[in-house]
Each structure stands twice: as C-alpha cells, then as structure tokens.
Amino acid sequence: MKQRPPILWIVVALNLLVLVALAFAYPHLMISPGPLVRGHEELATDCFACHAAWRGASTQRCTECHAVADVGLKTTKGVPIPTRAVKVSFHQELIERDCIACHSDHQGPKLTRRSRKPFSHALLKVTVKEQCSTCHAAPKDTLHRNLTAQCSQCHGDKAWKPATFDHDKYFVLDRDHQAPCDTCHRNNDYGRYTCYGCHEHSEAKVRAEHLEEGIRDFQDCVECHRDPRAEPEKGRGQDRGGRERD
C-alpha cells in the first residue's frame, strides 16, 4: 500500500505555499528592503516600475520619468520647482549618469543608512565644480557679503562648516585678540586688515615706538607680529612687500 504523506508535511507545504503567495501579493512587505521615499510611495507594490528583472534598478528606468534636463527644475508632471538655496539642477552637469550611485529609493533600516553614498563634488564637470556660484547662492551675511576670495580658501567641498580657514596661519588670535572680525577687517574686506582698530594700537603710539627702535617700515604689522605672544624676529621688518592695510 502506498504510504500517505504525514500531516506534518502537508501543513509545512501549505504554509510555505501561503508565504510564497504573500510575497507576490504584498511585495512591499515581504521582499522590499524598506519603504519607498515619499515621491515614489504609489509605486510600492509595482517593483518592476523601477527594477528590470534580473538586472535591478537602472538609470534608464529613472530617466523615463525624470528627464535629466528637467531634474530640479520641473516635476515629472511639468510643474516648475521653486529655486532652493542649493540648485538641484546640478544634475545636468554630472560627469556620469548613474542615479543609483547616490539615490536609494528604499529607506533602509537606520543601521544601513550610512552605507549610502552621499553627493560628491567630484561627480561634477570641472567647469561647474570650480564655480561654486553655479549652484550655491553666496551668503548674504556681513562676513561674506563683499568677499571676493574663492570659497575654497576657507571652505572644503565636503561641508560648509567647519570652515577650513586657519587664521593662525596668518595671525594668532590669542585671548587679547578675540575681537569681532570688523575690528581688524574694516567693511568686511578680508583682503585687508588694520591693527589700529583697538585702543591698544593707536597709530601715533605704534609709530613712536617703532621709530624709537629705528624701524621705519611698520605698515604690515603681522609680518613681524604673527604671534602676539612672541617677540618679533630680529632683522625682519625690512624690505617687505606684504599686505595692504587700511
């Protein structure tokens, strides 16, 4: 007599069939590595809207809806997007079209989020990369308003803050020099400075003291007084070009 399959087998097989069926019915719960970003929520159960079978999500699929020329400028329905502080339209200036390199539309668990690749300025065409203002609006604060220097003199391309400018390379700001920038850099002109902005260093007093030592060229103070705690080096203060002062 043929042996009948034990009830345990039937129960296990039925359960597995149900589970596999659930994977087809609810792929966003059973298979998806995380909920989709807000803009793509309606695609949650339509995996093949973005994924090509056996090949994964591809840039070609993205650009079928998101025309590269319109990214950051218009929505997929053609509605203009208001300009933001950082222009999203840098997408038109990327050296390579690889949407998936930066965008993972599945919001994974917290622990995996840092594995995502962030935007890198290295992905921009050189002409755009070197012109920060093509994407970034210049800050309108008093510190930056009239600045003509290159952003890269003070800021790295990883983050705006902390600024990488090292004031100590030019002049050490010790406890007696914790003054507002404008005290030394009048009118926010950081290409120039003056030491006569505070009562300690009146022009008449500085002139008298230097002439008494036989120093006639004392216009560029930091050439000798780079560190206010240190004595000026002997023999310096002669024959200099140096910076302009007010």
């Binding site: 296990v12 719960l29 059973m30 998806s32 590595p33 994924h51 994964g56 622990l111």
Partner: protein, 194 residues
C-alpha cells in the same frame, strides 16, 4: 559528581555552548563590520554561507543513497561543521539590516534548523554512548544471548528518539530551503548586479 550534574556537563552543556557560540560569534563579527564600516562585506557573506550550507547537504544525500560515495560518519561530521559555519556567515549577512519579512522568516527558519540539528547531534551522541555502555556492561556480566537481545532492544529505543527527531528535522529543513530560495530568487530578480 552527582549524576544530574554529570549529565548536564556531558550532554546538555556542549549543545547549549555550540548554539551560544554561534550567536556570540555572529554578534561579534557583525559588530566588527560596523566598527570598521565594512557593511558591504556582510552583504556578500550570504553567498559563501549559502554555499557552505549546500555543501553540508552531501551527508543528507548520502544517507538517502542519492549519492553513493563518501563515508557516512565522516560526512556527518562535515555536515555539522559546514552547516554551523554557513549559518554563522548567513547570520552575519542578515545582521539586523533588512526590513523584508521574507528575509526574517528565512533567518528564523535557519536558526530553528540549526537548533534542530544540534538537538539531533545531542540525541545521536547520547544514544551512541548509551549503546556502547550497555554493550560493555553486558559483556562484563557475561549475559546469556536472550537477555542480551532483550537489553539491546530497550537500548535501541533511544535510537528511536533519533528517528522521531528526523521526522521533525526534515520539514524544518524544507521550510528553511524554500524560504531561503524565495529570498535568493527575490535578490536575483531585483538586485542590480552590474
């Protein structure tokens, strides 16, 4: 040493230690990958882990005579080792990094399977030891043949426990295999391999 304490040390402790070691090693390796920001390594460990587990099934095939070569006892040792190592890699691969219910089910099925496998190992070792002890006792006592048969019959019942366990172990393995396969197919279907 009292009998209960000896039993615990000889039979229960190795079983628990093997399971605990698996969990602790998986946590330690996963922690290291996080510490050194090497999460991508964990993502790929599923492949060698799966291959090791597939390799471990050589014993199951041999026992069912689906393959003819290989010494069953040696294959059993390999089955235990490869399945344990493969499970370790899959556990590190799984970590706590996925949302999909299917993935979780596959991992739980694997853990139940490992637990079941270790239980089988425990039952088999115990049966083997008891049979051996019984044989030696009988030989020492010089029992007549009929009585020896009687004793061996009772001892063979401990092997029945192994048989009964096998009835449970195989469906668990089937559940794990189907869930793992569904997960693997889903990954092949949706993952960007290029």
């Amino acid at each position: 040493m009292p009998l209960k304490a000896r039993l615990f040390q000889r039979e229960v402790l190795p079983f628990l230690a093997s399971f605990a070691l698996l969990a602790l090693l998986a946590l330690a390796l996963d922690g290291l990958l996080h510490l050194f920001d090497l999460l991508w390594v964990g993502r790929w460990l599923g492949i060698p882990g799966t291959l090791l587990i597939i390799g471990s099934t050589a014993y199951s095939l041999r026992k069912r005579k689906l393959i003819r070569s290989g010494h069953p006892a040696k294959l059993l040792r390999w089955h235990e080792l490869l399945a344990w190592l493969g499970s370790l890699l899959v556990l590190v691969h799984a970590g706590v990094h996925f949302n999909a219910i299917l993935g979780w089910l596959a991992v739980w099925a694997m853990l139940i399977n490992v637990g079941s496998g270790l239980t089988g190992k425990f039952l088999l070792d115990r049966s083997r030891r008891r049979m051996e002890e019984a044989r030696q006792r009988m030989r020492a006592r010089g029992l007549p043949e009929a009585e020896l048969e009687d004793q061996l019959y009772w001892d063979s019942l401990t092997f029945d426990a192994v048989k009964q366990w096998r009835v449970v172990h195989f469906p668990i393995t089937l559940a794990f295999a189907v869930l793992a396969m569904a997960h693997i197919v889903a990954i092949f279907l949706f993952w960007g391999w290029q």
